[in-house]
């Protein structure tokens, strides 16, 4: 199960990167990156998973004393949370840039924005 998720995550990353590096439309690049980000999140969560255990929340079902053998690793989850939020930040920023670039040139073709080179 972990492997399935991990493979899925990696495939999503590669697909996202492929889309981002071959689509010349800026918006589509951003969409592709968000797919890749989802892939990363899946990989992260999969790494923390231990078969047959429950969420790292202590309640009636998981008493404090048994926590160490009942719950999965909480660290990757905490990292994913942060990663998701940061990913949103970057995506938002890219979208704002995309809008701005469109305003300047009236196009979203990334190849049109190459005055700076060499």
């Amino acid at each position: 199960m972990v492997y399935v998720a991990m493979v899925t995550g990696f495939i999503l990353i590669l697909m996202g990167l492929y889309g981002a590096l071959t689509n010349s439309n800026i918006l589509r690049m951003i969409v592709a990156f968000s797919v890749a980000n989802t892939g990363v999140n899946i990989v992260l969560v999969a790494v923390g998973y231990i078969d047959g255990r429950t969420a790292p929340i202590l309640d009636a079902a998981v008493p404090v004393a048994e926590a160490a053998v009942r719950i999965i690793d909480p660290v990757p989850q905490a990292l994913v949370l942060t990663a998701i939020v940061i990913g949103l930040g970057v995506t938002t920023l890219m979208l704002a840039y995309a809008y701005k670039l469109y305003e300047i040139k009236g196009t979203l073709d990334i190849a049109q924005f190459s005055e700076l080179k060499w």
Binding site: A20, T82, G89, M94, L101, I104, A111, S114, L116
Partner: protein
């Protein structure tokens, strides 16, 4: 002491606080500055605590829990220093951008604060995921700060950066989570402490991904197109931050931290990436015309160099911090300074920087920054590079050493070319390019002050002693402060200073040092007399000239390799500034400085190879260098020194540099500076003696080089039309004689070389001065445009006459003495073939010397020259002194030479001359200068009297106008008899004159430029391509790493 976490808290708190200050921009700005100042204050306090009080590094725990369960921060001297650098850079940029920030409002200010804060976070944190968070903050803040610039293109640059950072964060996150899985911790020290077993397999791959991701932020070649676009288009104050603080401090420190985990097996990878960036970026920068993009390339290169140092830290040991700090701080200060400087100009071409001319302070700042970048003394990068090169050579990592030096030379090439543009290119007067807002000016100038402060600091920390304590250097630098005084006062001060210094120090000199010291100090004082003819302030002349003389003075007293090399660099740079002052000298000065620095780097490599880690390395220890490397050391040093003496093949810089220099500069660089090379060769030969490589005796090769230089130098002089170029080529020939003499490796040869040192100084200085005076009066240096000047300029004529007699080595003047010793020396040794060349070059010299006097002084006076006067008094005065000196030296050469002879005799047994009274005896005969003088004087007087008697009825012929048959020739000068005077010889010997060497070097340059021009097209400007390049970079590094 304030908890260092307050650096982060204050930065963030102020950024949040700004949300309240929507319409109070002034207040917001004040809050921003206050926050930065207090952050800087905390960092500075800690730095002092570590540096002065010797405090131990401290840990800052968060959340009341110990790592690895909570995030912790480390604070040591490196962290404190880097944070101070980052915050000060931010503060300066904030001051610099005052208007922009006020216009854009509090939002940008808070972004700036968060940017600085996040860089500090990157430096402090010891947790990989926390590192990721701070990096993302820095990335996003970058995307915001890019907007500071009005340039529409920046939007595209920002977007490209975001594309890259998306890829980076994907790699980093995957790396982090697998590293966590492998080690069970996110703490860097924790991971590092685990056995290296965790880094096998998955752990190693995870580390690879993390390293590549962080590495990308250091903008390695070739995954750095986006960075160059940002550098080119962003606000210069932001580029300063981006280069100095983000890439040059935070990112490289993060890599340094990460490598604690990866340990030694990853160091070669970092070294390789760094080297590639350093070489490639500097190569590509050669063909840039945009100033900020050039700086961007240079920045990529410098960060590459820092990476190399980080990658070599396994051999740097306790010197690591000193070396990496020296290079890192030099880069940061210089690059930020240059970016801030670029913000004063409104045009972006490198040549537009000529607008700086007339602003000595700005030029001084520019020079300081450029010197810092290229690692010239006395800046920290010089000390650091020296130590680095020494250690690399000691560990036999010669490829790295060679590539570093080559790339540094490339960098020096375009930076000094740029400097040439500033000094020499035409200003566009109709455009107002420069705008000098006082706050921007303050930032630039205080950065320059900081650069010198760091120079002092690194000198203090150096194991070799502080170069800034050297009196001659201080004397030269003090003229920077006196530059507002009139030239004549400065001239008097210089002469007084140099004479006084000589008087004080000569008792400590040995005879060899005495000869060179007298020429370097007294000799230059005599030449400086000529400088009295210049009125006005002559800004920049005295600091440059005195820097050169300081270098020369320090050179002869240098005891160890470090000080020798430092002095060598000083004299190179000083003379470069001097030469650059000539009217048309821009390309020549550039080729001079490139050849000189190239030579200097060979010398550096030679010393490094010889020292094998011994520090300090006394020059005498050259004698103890062991066999397999000794010849290589010899070769490197010899080529380095021979670059300075312009041996044939490495001579192409000389004619232009010497001929285009100012009237009083030509004698300095020709009469005095060339001797530095000879001095170096003497030190080398005295200590290392004969060396052979692959069965070839190297001194024998030098002998041939000397003979060829003498022959070809003289031959080329024959065909010159320009009198100063003629003298310059003649110098190549003369230096060839000296080299030949030294390479003979017998006492007479050496004596003759030393004779040459003195003679050449006197007559070449004299000739350059008189020709310079004539050129000044006639307004041309082409000989065929002159003629008949003997009546108008009799004193110049006498000087030239005496000069050429001395040069050609006919009795009775000292040139003959030189020749006499010389022929004795040749007879002592058995090298007949090169000897023939030397003999032939004697008469050849006569050809061009004859022309000098014949074409300029005899013949018909040109119409346009009828009104001219004798050369100015101050130019004549030293010439007359030289005439007297030549006479004295001709009659009593023993005054100086017998001491030297005695000094040399321990080196060569039983070959000395016999000095008795006024007669000198060798195995082959004797030479009595006094009697020769008397004989010649009698013959001369008799002939002269006879001529007068015969010619007493001579008639004066009036000049008549030649009318061409109703037609003007296409090139009028071709009809002049003195034009192409030696055309017949050219037919015979012209094949030797083909500029093979020039063509060779030109082809090399063209090749470099074409490579650079082709390869930079790689940066297509398409953000997607940049993304692919990053991907390719990662994959290729991975494949390489797997190979090994």
């Amino acid at each position: 002491m304030v908890n260092a976490i307050f650096i982060l808290v204050i930065g963030l708190g102020a950024a949040f606080l700004l949300g309240f200050l929507r319409d109070k921009r002034k207040l917001a700005y004040v809050v921003t500055l206050a926050a930065l100042v207090s952050m800087a204050w905390i960092a500075a306090r800690w730095l002092l605590f570590f540096a002065v009080d010797g405090g131990a590094r401290t840990e800052i725990f968060t959340a009341g829990t110990l790592p690895p369960f909570a995030i912790n921060l480390h604070l040591g001297i490196a962290e404190a220093a880097l944070m101070l650098l980052v915050i000060l850079c931010g503060l300066f940029s904030a001051i610099y951008m005052q208007n922009t920030l006020m216009r854009l409002g509090r939002r940008m200010m808070s972004v700036l604060l968060v940017f600085v804060m996040s860089l500090c976070g990157i430096i402090l944190t010891r947790d990989v995921f926390n590192l990721f968070v701070f990096f993302e903050l820095a990335v996003i803040a970058t995307a915001g700060l890019i907007l500071l610039c009005e340039d529409k293109r920046t939007f595209a640059a920002g977007f490209k950066y975001l594309i890259i950072s998306q890829i980076v964060s994907i790699l980093l996150l995957v790396g982090i989570i697998f590293a966590y899985h492998a080690s069970g911790s996110l703490n860097i020290d924790d991971m590092a402490a685990m056995s290296s077993g965790t880094l096998k397999g998955v752990g190693s791959l995870a580390f690879f991904l993390m390293l590549m991701a962080i590495m990308t932020e250091a903008k390695p070649f070739p995954a750095n197109g986006w960075a160059l676009d940002i550098y080119e288009s962003a606000h210069p104050a932001f580029s300063a931050l981006f280069s100095a603080a983000m890439a040059g401090a935070a990112a490289v420190y993060a890599i340094d931290k990460l490598l604690l985990i990866g340990a030694s097996q990853w160091l070669p990878v970092v070294t390789a990436i760094g080297l590639l960036s350093f070489v490639a970026a500097n190569l590509l920068a050669l063909v840039q015309t945009n100033d900020r993009r050039t700086l961007g390339y240079s920045s990529v290169g410098q960060v590459g160099l820092i990476l190399v140092v980080i990658g070599q830290r396994d051999i740097l040991g306790e010197h690591y911090l000193y070396i990496v700090g020296g290079i890192l701080l030099s880069h940061a200060v210089a690059k930020a300074g240059l970016y801030w400087l670029s913000g004063l100009l409104s045009q972006r071409k490198l040549t537009d920087w000529s607008a700086l001319r007339g602003h000595p302070l700005l030029i001084f700042a520019f020079v300081s920054f450029v010197a810092m970048l290229t690692g010239l003394p006395p800046f920290p990068s010089f000390y650091a590079k020296w130590d680095l090169v020494m250690l690399l050579a000691a560990e036999n990592r010669l490829w790295i050493l060679a590539l570093i030096l080559i790339a540094t030379l490339l960098e020096a090439g375009y930076l000094f070319r740029w400097f040439g543009y500033i000094i020499k290119r035409e200003k566009e007067t109709d455009k107002q390019i420069l705008s000098l807002a006082s706050h921007k000016l303050a930032v630039v100038l205080s950065t320059a002050v900081i650069s010198w402060g760091l120079a002092y600091l690194w000198g203090e920390l150096s194991a070799h002693g502080n170069l800034l304590y050297a009196l001659p250097l201080l004397f030269a630098l003090s003229f920077l402060l006196l530059d507002q005084l009139p030239a004549r006062i400065k001239n008097s001060l210089s002469i007084a200073g140099m004479v006084a210094y000589f008087m004080v120090s000569y008792p400590t000199y040995d005879p060899l040092q005495l000869i060179f010291g007298a020429i370097f100090l007294l000799g230059s004082s005599v030449i400086l007399l000529a400088s009295y003819h210049v009125s006005g302030r002559r800004v920049g002349f005295y600091p440059s000239a005195l820097l050169m003389f300081a270098g020369l003075t320090l050179l002869i007293v240098a005891k160890d390799a470090f000080h020798f090399f430092a002095a060598w660099e000083f004299l190179t740079i000083g003379s470069y500034f001097l030469i650059l002052r000539g009217k048309h000298s821009e390309p020549h000065a550039l080729s001079y400085v490139i050849f000189s620095l190239g030579g200097a780097f060979l010398i550096l490599a030679g010393f490094a190879l010889a020292a094998q880690g011994i520090s300090p390395f006394p020059l005498e220890s050259l004698a103890q260098v062991a066999k397999p490397i000794a010849p290589w050391v010899f070769l490197l040093l010899a080529i380095g020194f021979m670059t300075k003496t312009a041996v044939i093949g490495l001579h192409i810089w000389l004619p232009g540099a010497h001929a285009e220099a100012e009237t009083d500069v030509s004698p300095m660089v020709s009469g005095i500076l060339l001797k530095a090379g000879l001095f170096g060769l003497m030190v080398l030969l005295m200590n290392m003696g004969k060396q052979s490589l692959y069965g070839v005796e190297l001194t024998y090769v030098m002998l041939w080089m000397g003979a060829l230089s003498a022959f070809l130098g003289n031959l080329m002089a024959v065909f010159q039309e320009d009198a100063k170029r003629l003298l310059a080529y003649s110098s190549i020939g003369q230096m060839g004689y000296a080299l030949f003499g030294l390479a003979l490796m017998n006492q007479l040869g050496w004596l003759m070389a030393l004779m040459f040192v003195i003679n050449h100084y006197i007559y070449k200085s004299m000739l350059f001065l008189s020709i310079g005076g004539i050129a000044k009066r006639t307004g041309t240096r082409d000989m065929y445009k002159m003629g008949g000047l003997i009546a108008l300029m009799p004193l110049s004529f006498i000087a030239v006459l005496i000069g050429i007699i001395a040069v050609s080595g006919v009795p009775p003047l000292s040139g003959f003495g030189g020749r006499w010793i010389f022929y004795n020396a040749i007879l002592e040794s058995e090298y007949r073939l090169p000897m023939m060349l030397i003999f032939i070059s004697g008469p050849i010299a006569f050809l061009y010397l004859f022309r000098l006097i014949h074409t300029i002084f005899l013949g018909q006076l040109k119409d346009e020259h009828r009104q001219i006067k004798e050369a100015p008094f101050w130019i004549l005065l030293p010439q007359m002194i030289y005439v007297v000196a030549l006479m004295i030296f001709a009659v009593v050469p023993g005054l100086a030479m017998r001491h030297v002879d005695a000094y040399l005799s321990p080196f060569f047994e039983g070959q000395g001359l016999n000095w008795e009274g006024f007669t000198i005896t060798s195995h082959y005969g004797y030479w009595s200068p006094v009697s020769i003088m008397i004989v010649v004087a009698v013959i001369f007087a008799t002939l002269f009297a006879w001529l007068l008697f015969v010619n007493r009825k001579a008639q004066k012929v009036k000049q008549f106008n030649i009318v061409y048959s109703a037609e003007r020739p296409f090139r009028p000068e071709t009809t002049h008899f003195a034009w192409n005077f030696f055309a017949p010889y050219r037919k015979a010997l012209g094949f030797l004159m083909q500029p093979y060497v020039t063509r060779f070097w030109e082809t090399m340059m063209d090749l470099l430029h074409s490579i650079a021009d082709l390869s930079r097209r790689f940066y297509t400007g398409n953000g997607q391509t940049y993304g692919i390049q990053l991907l390719a970079f990662v994959v290729i590094v991975y494949l390489f790493k797997m190979e090994f």
